[in-house]
Structures are given as C-alpha cells and as structure tokens.
C-alpha cells in the first residue's frame, strides 16, 4: 500500500499571493507541455498514425451540474472528476490526497450520494448533479456541519476536512449516524492523519442530535 500524502496544510486559500503561486505553476506546466509536443507530433506523423492519435486525444463534451450551476465542458476521457473540478472549474476545495481512493479527501456528492472523485472519470458524470464543499454553504451562512466542525475543532491541518464534511453530511442523510460506533464505521473512508477523529465524531453527533434537515 502506498503511503498517504502527508498533510501539507491548506494549499489554496483565496488570497492573492496564493493564487499567483497557482498561476505560476499552471504556466510553467503549460510551457513544459509545449516544449515536449513537437517531437511527439513529428514521430506520430512519420508513423502515419496522426489521425489515430487525433481521434484518441479528442476531447469529449461533458454536461453536468456543479453546485447548482450547469457546466458545459470539453474533457479528455481520462480526466477524473477530481481533476476537472480543481483544474477546469477551479473548485479547489475538493482535495487530492492519495488520488487512489484510499483517503477520502476527494469526497463529493453525485446525485446526492458520496463518492471518491479521484476514481470517478469525469466523462461518466454526464447529466449528473455534483455537490462539492463549495456548494454546502448558503451565501455567507455556513452549512450546519461546517459550523459544527469549527465548534468542535474537527480538524488540525484541514487537508482532509472538505472530504470529512461531505462524508459527514452523507453519513447523516443515509441514516448511519445513530451511535459513535456507527459514525466511526461509516466515516472510515475518510482518513485524518492529524487524528481529529473524536472531534469529528462529536461534530457529527451534534448535527445529528439537533435533527435539522441538512
């Protein structure tokens, strides 16, 4: 088993300094891609396989609703939902942890059900409704689960938190938050290397006990 990515802290606060770091990374990645392209293209042309390659590399249309907003996108079939959310829609609240379905940091809701977006091909989400952590709050009013996580100190570094909260909301909606034991079992797909588990359980129990519609 691979070692989990260590907690790196929030990597994308919406401040100016951080977004310029993000842009720098994007630009340098793009330059690298351009530098590599000609050789590949020449080889392809020489082998008369350019048409085939063009067909394979073709992007496909993807229509899905994300946090209530219709998105008409063009994606490579190999792009995961996670990468599309983060890189194309700039919804960087959803985190890439292990990228192999082992940590739960990438948890989002698809048609109301929690899934690992890192193991979901975006192209298979055509016609689906996606909710990410950005879609939980109503304007400036945080979702009750977000408030409970703050109140109960349900995180330290915060990297796993968006996935924890998406999972926690689903856990209650599914009816799997009836005891500490059940919450722990049904939150086992979300790993927290800081070890905030007791506080996460407390946050979920409070929201569950208040019995509000979430």
């Amino acid at each position: 088993m691979e070692s989990k990515k260590s907690c790196t802290g929030p990597d994308d606060d919406l401040d100016v300094k951080d977004s310029s770091r993000r842009n720098f990374l994007k630009q340098s990645t793009l330059l690298t891609a351009v530098a590599l392209t000609p050789g590949t293209a020449m080889k392809a042309a020489a082998g008369h396989v350019d048409e085939q390659i063009a067909a394979v590399f073709e992007k496909m249309p993807l229509k899905m609703q994300v946090n209530g907003k219709q998105q008409n996108l063009s994606v490579e079939p190999r792009s995961t939902l996670l990468d599309i959310l983060r890189e194309q829609l700039h919804l960087t609240g959803t985190k890439k942890g292990c990228d192999h379905g082992q940590c739960g940091a990438c948890t989002v809701h698809v048609d109301g059900h929690r899934v690992n977006s890192c193991l979901t091909l975006g192209i298979m989400m055509n016609g689906k409704k996606i909710t990410t952590i950005e879609g939980l709050a109503k304007g400036d009013k945080l979702h009750p689960m977000q408030e409970a996580f703050i109140k109960h100190d349900g995180f330290q570094c915060g990297y796993c938190t968006p996935g924890q909260i998406m999972s926690a909301v689903a856990c209650i909606r599914e009816g799997h938050a009836n005891s500490e034991h059940e919450i722990r079992e049904y939150m086992s797909g979300n790993i927290c290397r800081c070890g905030a588990y007791p506080n996460i359980v407390n946050a979920i129990q409070e929201v569950k006990d208040r019995g509000m519609a979430i």
């Binding site: 394979v56 379905g101 059900h113 091909l121 086992s188 797909g189």
Partner: protein
C-alpha cells in the same frame, strides 16, 4: 494515465460488439479499474461504459433472488430482500471498502476486481499475473496478505472481495451474456485458481458480460455471519474472512455453508467442513473440528504462515456467531 477512447453503448448487443475487440475493457463503477489505469497496471485502448444498460434490478425470480450486475454494493447491502433473505450477503458487502466506494462499486465489478497483491500493483516488480513469465515477487517476498490454499508456483495472490465470499457460500449462480446468448455458471466456478495462467482471474470470456447473479432460496437467514479479520477495524482488506451459514433444527445442524476470503485466488468454499457439521449439535467442539478439516492442504509461505492458525480460529468464531453462541 494513458489516453483511451470512451464509448457509452445504449444496448447490450452494442456492448458485446464493443468488448470483443482487443484492447477494450468494460467500465462500470471504475473503483478498481481507474486505480489500475492510473498506476499503469493496465492500459486499455478503449473503455466501454456499460452504465446505460438496465442491469440494476434486484428482485425475486423463479431461480431465487436476482441481483443485476450494475446494482451498487451500497444499494444491495441495504435492500430489504437482501437483508431479510440473505443477511450474510449484506454483512459481507458492508465489511468491504468504504461507504464512498460502495456507492460506486457494482456487483459485476466487485466480481471482476483484481488482486491487491503489492507485486501486481508495482510495475517495476516481477508478477506473473500482470506480466506472464516475469516470475512471482511474492513467493519469496513480502507475502503477509497472500494465499495459503490453491496457490501455484506462479502465483500466490488472493482475490480481495468480501461480497464474493458470501455469494460462494450461498450457492449463487452467475448469469453471463455473450453473442450466442446467456449462460449460467455456479459462482464457485466463476473465479479460477492461478495454475499456469495466473493472468486469468476467472472464466468470463473477453466478449462476454456479467448481467447478474442469482441466489437460490435457503433457510440460513436466522443463522449466518460474516467475520472479517483485518489490520484495522474498518476499510481494510481481509487477512482472513469467513462466511458462515447454518440451518439449525432443534439444536442440530441440518445444513451448513462455509467459505473463506483472503486465503486463496478465489473465494474458498469449505465443502468438507460443511459436510462434517450436518446432523451434529451446534457446539464449539464441532465447529473447531470442522475448522481443522477445513485446513487440510493449507501451506504457509513465511509472511502469511500466521494464517494457518488465524484461519481455523476465524472459522470457529464465525460459526459461533452464526449459531448464536456468542
């Protein structure tokens, strides 16, 4: 991940036509396949998304309970017909993966998942399953998770499923569609032992499609238990798991079903142990005797030799739970 073409056929005929081509692979939930593609363990040219097919149904037929191949693991585990008639299957499903993965993974995909052997996943290592002829890294390597039954010199990987262990115990049948029509295969014959061809996990042909599984009616609902022993309490693959189902009449065992996970290349049905229990009182002594019978032919390979003791203890414990002795 390597580029690939993606198609989403609307009919079973179109799926069957597409999957027969070399380099094509079916994708359903994708929880295992996408992971394998990211790691370069497999690199299909074309993915055939079968999610448009109407294969999510769960219902009673003349052959028992039919579960469509695209029914989600989470949905099956909470379905009333399943929890009422076959609680063993619900328990096994809930013991597998995480809630998120169970919301994605399908019944057919669960059957088709590959081993989690580290040498299979690491493309820099020898592995006869991933690259036939390169050798088995696990045989003399790190083999703590590996098989104690039915292994060959070519491969000691185990099948990782929990669901399949329950279906093997419950005498399920696999319904398979091909170009020439449907065929049925006993669940215990669906997966194969590694032999000289560990690259083949099962008997599904490349141009075939699992359309569902059927579980015959039984009287095990009152006395069944799935016991999974693992390194952490949840969200981990089995070191050893046992599906135990008993029909008890006036304290005597009328019928028994036993299968183990985490010990072989396929769900490991314990026919001899089952037979030994029939007609006997449901006692710990009889369970322990059955467990000893079940261990005949077991071979440890160093790292996994602890399973030689863990497996019979798990069988006994699972039977005690099933019989209501715990």
């Amino acid at each position: 991940m390597k580029q690939f073409q993606y198609v989403r056929p609307a009919t079973q005929q179109a799926v069957l036509a597409a999957v027969g081509k070399p380099g094509s692979k079916i994708i359903a939930g994708g929880t295992n396949l996408v992971d394998l593609m990211k790691r370069g363990v497999t690199a299909p040219d074309k993915l055939v998304d079968i999610n448009q097919l109407p294969l999510k149904n769960i219902g009673i037929t003349k052959n028992g309970l039919h579960i469509g191949a695209l029914a989600l693991n989470s949905v099956v585990s909470e379905n009333n017909l399943v929890t009422r008639n076959h609680p063993l299957l619900a328990m096994a499903l809930k013991a597998g993966a995480s809630p998120q993965l169970r919301n994605m993974a399908t019944v057919g995909g669960n059957m088709m998942q590959r081993t989690r052997c580290g040498y299979f996943y690491d493309t820099t290592m020898p592995c006869n399953k991933r690259a036939p002829g390169t050798g088995c890294g696990a045989m003399e390597g790190i083999n703590r998770m590996h098989a104690i039954f039915g292994a060959s010199p070519q491969c000691i990987a185990v099948h990782p499923s929990d669901m399949c262990v329950a279906l093997a115990a419950l005498d399920a049948t696999v319904v398979i569609a091909g170009k020439k029509g449907e065929r049925r295969l006993p669940f215990t014959e669906f997966h194969r032992l590694p032999g000289d061809h560990p690259e083949l996990d099962n008997r599904l042909a490349k141009d075939e499609l699992i359309v569902g599984v059927e579980i015959p009616d039984n009287n095990f609902a009152k006395h069944s238990y799935y016991l999974k022993i693992r390194d952490r309490q949840s969200y981990a693959f089995a070191l050893v798991s046992v599906a135990a189902a008993l029909e008890i009449d006036n304290g005597l065992i009328k019928n028994a079903r036993l299968a183990m996970g985490g010990v072989a290349h396929k769900p490991w049905r314990l026919f001899e142990a089952e037979k030994s229990l029939v007609g006997k009182p449901a006692t710990e002594e009889n369970f322990a005797h059955a467990a000893q019978l079940a261990m005949q032919g077991a071979i440890g390979h160093g790292g996994n030799s602890f399973k030689l003791k863990l497996a019979p203890a798990t069988i006994t414990e699972a039977l005690k739970h099933a019989a209501g002795l715990v």
